[in-house]
Subunit: 351 residues, 4 copies
Amino acid sequence: MWYHGPMEALVLEQKDRLRIRDIEIAETLGPNDVRIALRSVGVCGSDVHYFTHGGIGPFVVREPMILGHEASGVVVETGTDVKTLKPGDRVCMEPGVPNPHGRATRLGIYNLDPDVSFWATPPVHGVTRPTVVHPESFTFKLPDNVSFAAGAMVEPLAVGMHAATKAGIAPGDVAAVIGAGTIGLVTIMAALAGGCSRVVAIDIKDPKLKIAAGLGAVTTVNSGRTDPATVVHELTDGWGVDIVFEASGAPDALNAALPLIRPGGTLVAIGMPVEPVSFDVVGAQAREVRMETIFRYAHVYPRALALMGAGAIDLDPLVTDRYSFDKSVDAYEYAVSPRPESIKVQIEMPG
Amino acid sequence: MWYHGPMEALVLEQKDRLRIRDIEIAETLGPNDVRIALRSVGVCGSDVHYFTHGGIGPFVVREPMILGHEASGVVVETGTDVKTLKPGDRVCMEPGVPNPHGRATRLGIYNLDPDVSFWATPPVHGVTRPTVVHPESFTFKLPDNVSFAAGAMVEPLAVGMHAATKAGIAPGDVAAVIGAGTIGLVTIMAALAGGCSRVVAIDIKDPKLKIAAGLGAVTTVNSGRTDPATVVHELTDGWGVDIVFEASGAPDALNAALPLIRPGGTLVAIGMPVEPVSFDVVGAQAREVRMETIFRYAHVYPRALALMGAGAIDLDPLVTDRYSFDKSVDAYEYAVSPRPESIKVQIEMPG
Amino acid sequence: MWYHGPMEALVLEQKDRLRIRDIEIAETLGPNDVRIALRSVGVCGSDVHYFTHGGIGPFVVREPMILGHEASGVVVETGTDVKTLKPGDRVCMEPGVPNPHGRATRLGIYNLDPDVSFWATPPVHGVTRPTVVHPESFTFKLPDNVSFAAGAMVEPLAVGMHAATKAGIAPGDVAAVIGAGTIGLVTIMAALAGGCSRVVAIDIKDPKLKIAAGLGAVTTVNSGRTDPATVVHELTDGWGVDIVFEASGAPDALNAALPLIRPGGTLVAIGMPVEPVSFDVVGAQAREVRMETIFRYAHVYPRALALMGAGAIDLDPLVTDRYSFDKSVDAYEYAVSPRPESIKVQIEMPG
Amino acid sequence: MWYHGPMEALVLEQKDRLRIRDIEIAETLGPNDVRIALRSVGVCGSDVHYFTHGGIGPFVVREPMILGHEASGVVVETGTDVKTLKPGDRVCMEPGVPNPHGRATRLGIYNLDPDVSFWATPPVHGVTRPTVVHPESFTFKLPDNVSFAAGAMVEPLAVGMHAATKAGIAPGDVAAVIGAGTIGLVTIMAALAGGCSRVVAIDIKDPKLKIAAGLGAVTTVNSGRTDPATVVHELTDGWGVDIVFEASGAPDALNAALPLIRPGGTLVAIGMPVEPVSFDVVGAQAREVRMETIFRYAHVYPRALALMGAGAIDLDPLVTDRYSFDKSVDAYEYAVSPRPESIKVQIEMPG
């Protein structure tokens, strides 16, 4: 039940100093926990930011920390009270575990628990390592048709799924997504699988739009060349889209979103601008826009996996760059300035 | 602007007496109206019931009445204030037009307006006839890839779309649909297009289930042979489905639905049982089931057409039997006792 | 931190055999727990039913069990991690503690957790006894103006609060409440405090209606003498009430509720009929009634206490009969057939 | 049925030129209309702004225009199809009448209809005049206990009611209201009547806060002297309020609101800042704040009047300054720079 000893992991010693080395890890397998052998671990923008800057806002890397929080693996051991999982099960995991006694947790909005323990957020270790102990209730079986690579992609997809869920899509709604990076793309997927009839994808980079165009009923707009409002106006007979998902974090994106939205429509703020942005309150009021804001996700892993199992969402094409564990540092160096065609860099753990 | 004179139509003289004959129709084309040449007109269960019984509940056929309310056509004339339509536009129409001054209409729940004028509901004529005048705001352009046959099917689809909308599907929800007749089938389509990852289709007739199985991520259960609760239990690890759509109207269907529903799940009552049914209140309370009830539809035509335009819903396969206008009486006689493989009988108007 | 030994409690030995005696209780004070000295304990219909019948449905009293689950008290000891409470705090407690690892609990619908441990539900002891250990997160401070008697009444009020919350009252809605027993009365209070402009209280017993009439903007109807539909019709210009709360459990109450409800209105099923009831599905559909069902409550204690602290709800008048602990058996014998003016019987613990 | 001729009204000739004079008015009484003799007409900030600036944004006074849109009166004539009103009925009126054929109107969000005809918004005349013709469905009977003065105050109250409705108050919620001008005060009233247990009123002017303090369970904070976050923190044990209503329009108000809101709480933007404001997206995301924006109101008059009829809201104390019609110009001149104790200036029409 106890593991106490060194394991070989990808450790960020401090800003710019990343290496594979042995690190001491003490983990207890509680009655409601499982131990998982990692298989695929994605490289997220936040991982890269810790690597290049040594911190994100108030979260500063003061002690050596294992990176990686987008992960899939195989169950190798189960606690005495575990009922839904058994050794050999292929799984993916939610990286954040809330305090079960917290007030937000009790309300069901556990993503907002201030005491959440989240992988690869200082001082909590990530999972670019051989094994990890995790609660059963935040560990989810992969459908047979879902690869380990896709399983590790559920974490970013979960952000798009959470956005699509909070948007309250009515079947057949038309949406726009601003930004076609990883989060924008998974939001497009979630919006289409979640009931939208069409998504207008807006970005300034053609390679990203090209990928977006392949995801289904998607109309692409390069906003560097074409005014999205014109495209939306034509597509919707001047009415506007039901929902705009803002996934770019650009400072002018919220105001640019407003003229696209129909009366009584919804704006979902997913992107995280570094500074406060300008917001045209009167412009929002004129159409009584409702704005939802998104922080990570809650309760969406089972529903994301159900859509993947049914074939409604296929994440494999988004995994564009794979590195073996021993090349992890190369993976991160590549992820600092990837080719424009790259979406997701992943590390494959030795199985 | 005025039409006053005879037109050749399918007239129900009284119970069991149906024929094609000239009938006097006086219609004004108001400033917000369009005149439409009909192309496809479906035969609905309610039409057949008027034919075989002469009435439905309080609605009794006392004067000769044209049948048919599922319809598509081509705009041939437009009122002076019409902006969104022009002659030549291929369209389908909502058959019910509410009183714009009514309280329910003002609230946006125009389907509940007691003063609604609904085609082929006594004393209002239906549209198995050459032309009809209809308000612009209840007439909708067909996407290019949508046939007239599919356009006339939007009316029954609208019931499923309305049910899927009121269910409040969260992306990836799992649903069950009880009853795989026309309404059950379009509800399955709406549920899948509207965000469900999987639908369990339940019926006692294998030909219907075979059609259901072809609609996508559908698990079929013949409840005459297999307990749906067992199938749902296995599919959902004992948790239950998020939503049950009751589309059979069978007297025991609501109670049969309850054990399929997860804690906090939803039951949507679409089917219309002839008599009050038994309802296990405590069984519903034990999982805090929310029950939505459905009466026709509101606001769903544009969203149904958007999903059809995007290819997410294809209604053509549901039109199994087509008759030319001059064979309309044959169509109705067939529809009284169709083959089990039949879904929708339609009449094609001379174009 | 441990208590292991006998305490003097009100013990139901078996059906009809109730007495005060010493009973062995072993309780650990965990880090997130508090120990509470009980002050007021209400006698609930379920307690009385265990006394007179020895069980409720599947819950059968097989071992001696302490009765009572509506309770207030004073904190006397706190676990090491407790932050919001300290010894001396006047408190009331939610009697049901869910499994924190359960799926329903994680979703925030902890009242639906099948593993919930609920006081005075076999085999879990109730709290008509000197002290009890309880989790901090299900223990709530009483505002200064709330008595211990009122604090113990928060438990039944919570049912009405939960119903009022799930109803989704829009400010100024008009409601009707069927049944003016304890649950009906607290539902009236919750509905008025929760935004309703007026409540129509319906019962067949004048003493209950007299109490209801004193709760504020209440119109009373003795349905044995007057048709509630007539009263509602006049009060609402024929439109109907926005919400009906069914709090009687009478077999014909759901169907009687339907004609009272406006198009698009809501029916909340609180009462628990012993057998399945008749339900007029088509009658519900004709106005697209939404039905919410209620099982206990979740998340409402803090909001109930806030309304009580602000003076918007005053529960003291509902406590009509008080007995000292040594007269507990008398209290129960009285509660088996109380005067019609009685609402709540409480037992006062020695302080 | 026709009125065509001069009537004596309060006419804004152009910026700064306001006088009482005869003006030609041609009005038809349609079958669904009523003619109303005006009794009380409020002076709104927008009226004053037209007076002092000659326009508001795109709405410029190019022709002489009668001012005033907050009004009550007595029905003097009814159209042939009017059913709910009769001569002699005391009423108040919604000043905006939407196009019944518009898409927003059909959805029930008629306040967002771009074709709305709104009193005293160029080029539509207001109602500081003897009579006006208005649709029955936007004219509402006053309860007996509601004065004409209070009836004319329903218009500003409607804004607060609409905000309270869109907030989705759960019974017992705690709210804060930023700004204690007329709109802030009616929002406090609507929030308390609509289910809030307590409102924190925030302003920098003590006379306004003094009035707020008299409205019920209100905690006042002069934000010029005290940090509202500290007050909210103490009041809510560090959790935050469920809802903040922003009713000041101050440029820093949205960002100031964020730290007051609990995880998963709501921000309602009522105030209309002249310029786009700064918005801390990440601060909103950290607690997943939902932001509703408000444009006028829809469907709230009947519910506002129901609360007033029940005594839950009393608007008379907010009418601080009354002028007879012949002193209308004085009223406007006073309203340009009123005493700080003034809330609402009204003009009383000769009855």
